[in-house]
Symmetry: C2
Subunit: 349 residues, 2 copies
């Protein structure tokens, strides 16, 4: 039996200014054999994820060895969740919910069962898109980033600053900081609506709109005891401003540098001489955090994330659009801060 | 106000043969001021733990830098759980259940609130002694030991062997191995009753009574594909027998070496030349695992342990005795394998 599916392929790589556009992606129909080989699984896609790290997959050379480039005219892939429609793999059966980091942007797909993770919908109260965000790789990045690199200590009266704080990862990282004992968690984001969400919905102590406010002045105001932990998702001038106000012996968690991804620079992007000198003089650590190096901690951490989301200790924000035809737009919108919380694309019910 | 309490002090260190005896401990009464200083908490002890590592605390020099020796005529300490009777510390209030790794062997005590961990009885369905075992430091040692050093991989058809398998840590480690995907988990222990418990209650594939059976022959029988992971709690000749049958590129998790603790040898005890040669020739890793180096993972791991115990995926065995007057006997009994599962001493209800 053959099935007709819709998929997204890479149409072109970003142009000279580096900014991705929806036209870099192309929608097409394809046919698929539903006669499965041994070990194969036919899945129907429920939701897909778009994430900042994907920008480097649009380049011919991703610049890092843990992700591969997307190929022109080939189906794009990333985080996805779906349901098994038929299986010739012993690890899952029809009706199972499964996820993968390399899910094709395609309405249905045949995938090797061995690369799928079976997940339990009870862990997210049926809210399956959480497996791509708060109870998936994004939540793991936030929780393990804080735990591995943040040196947060209960009772130590610490202040954490999060950049990209209204994004998928930042919005969880700030809440982990609060739960782990930071007495003050300040978010930096790009709109007043995001600022309100951080404070009202996520329990941040304060929020700074970097597009409207004087970041250094507001940091001084919001962080009277300086900054002990900085969860950095953005890099660039915002990070220079934060690092300037960090305490001696404090810690930068280098999670992402979205402000630099459209530029032709290596990862992590070079710091200004002044910022390097501040790090040196104040003995501030700034260690790159790559969640894929900590996957032996995933099972326990996902359990904690699930429990904290279900108990309401962690609130989850999502921006959801419908339809595989909107993948390119959703990706480009996310790259310019169009989302609050995790950007999710619903493909089918 | 003054309170009379009963406590256990170190009466003497073990004699020349190294074996601890109940007379190394002494019970005494003491009085305690219940007028608390700022930051202090008055706790009533509910349960105490005895553990193999305590044997090295009986020596003048523990031989390792992460635990300190017990002092003659001073109150002995270790894992404990209790309830707050009054508090002048902002971190806990009357009625809270709290734990510590340095709980005095004493019926009531005044402790700095900052060294206590507040715990939620719901995590153990009210079974508070689990905070000393399966949902405490013992469970953490088992889970994190397997995850950090075991290289267990789902679908890889691996065989795990656990020594000291009916002890507090081994009984959890074997279950984690099974849950993480080992297709065969074989336990080595010291009685037929323990063997039955491993297989019938804990889901081990097979169990070997090292006091009655030919360990090498039984290992060959129980591990037809060799051994991929060895969770070692005992050391000595049992470990020599296991390592001889391990596969190339396999992994020893060096958790404890209880068979050597009464000897005057450094930790970890030296291996025989033949065993060293086997490790080298077969490229077997054998890394010491010290749970205290992984405490940034404790919160997530305890969450997973709690969930797996509550759902019945992990079964918990305990040997419980009552009364602080039995601490010394309980410790010595545990050191010679008198317990099945965690040895707990109930001090009050």
């Amino acid at each position: 039996m053959r099935l007709t599916v819709t998929r997204v392929v890479l149409n072109s790589r970003p142009g000279n200014n580096g900014a991705p556009v929806a036209e870099n992606f192309r929608l097409e129909e394809a046919t698929l054999s539903a006669d499965l080989a041994d070990g194969d699984v036919l899945v129907r896609t429920l939701c897909l994820s778009v994430d900042p790290y994907m920008r480097c997959r649009m380049n011919e050379d991703t610049g890092v060895d843990y992700v591969t480039p997307w190929q022109l005219s080939e189906c794009v892939d990333g985080g996805g969740v779906g349901v098994v429609e038929s299986s010739r793999c012993g690890l899952c059966v029809e009706g199972d919910v499964v996820t993968s980091f390399n899910w094709p942007w395609q309405t249905r797909a045949v995938i090797k069962g061995s690369v799928l993770q079976k997940v339990d919908p009870k862990l997210v109260d049926g809210h399956l898109s959480y497996f791509l965000g708060a109870v998936g790789i994004t939540g793991l990045t936030a929780l393990l980033g804080v735990r591995e690199k943040g040196h947060v200590t209960k009772g130590a009266n610490q202040t954490m600053v999060v950049s990209g704080a209204a994004g998928a990862c930042g919005s969880i990282a700030g809440q982990i900081g609060r739960l782990d004992g930071c007495v003050r968690v300040v978010g930096i984001c790009g709109s007043d609506e995001k600022c309100r969400a951080l404070v009202d919905d996520l329990g941040f102590s304060a929020a700074i709109n970097y597009r409207q406010e004087d970041v250094p002045a507001r940091l001084t105001e919001c962080c009277p005891n300086g900054i002990d932990v900085y969860f950095d998702n953005v890099g660039g001038s915002i990070s220079d401003a934060v690092i300037t106000q960090m305490n001696s012996g404090s810690h930068v968690i280098l999670c992402g540098q979205i402000s630099q991804y459209n530029k032709d620079v290596p990862y992590p992007p070079p710091l200004s001489e002044e910022t390097k000198e501040t790090l040196r003089r104040k003995n501030i650590t700034r260690e790159r955090f790559t969640v894929l190096n900590y996957m032996n901690q995933a099972e326990a951490a996902l359990c904690e994330l699930s429990q904290r989301v279900q108990s309401g200790q962690i609130n989850v924000l999502e921006t959801v659009v419908n339809g595989i035809e909107n993948m390119g737009d959703a990706f480009c919108s996310m790259m310019t801060g169009g989302n609050i919380g995790k950007q999710i694309i619903k493909i089918s019910e």
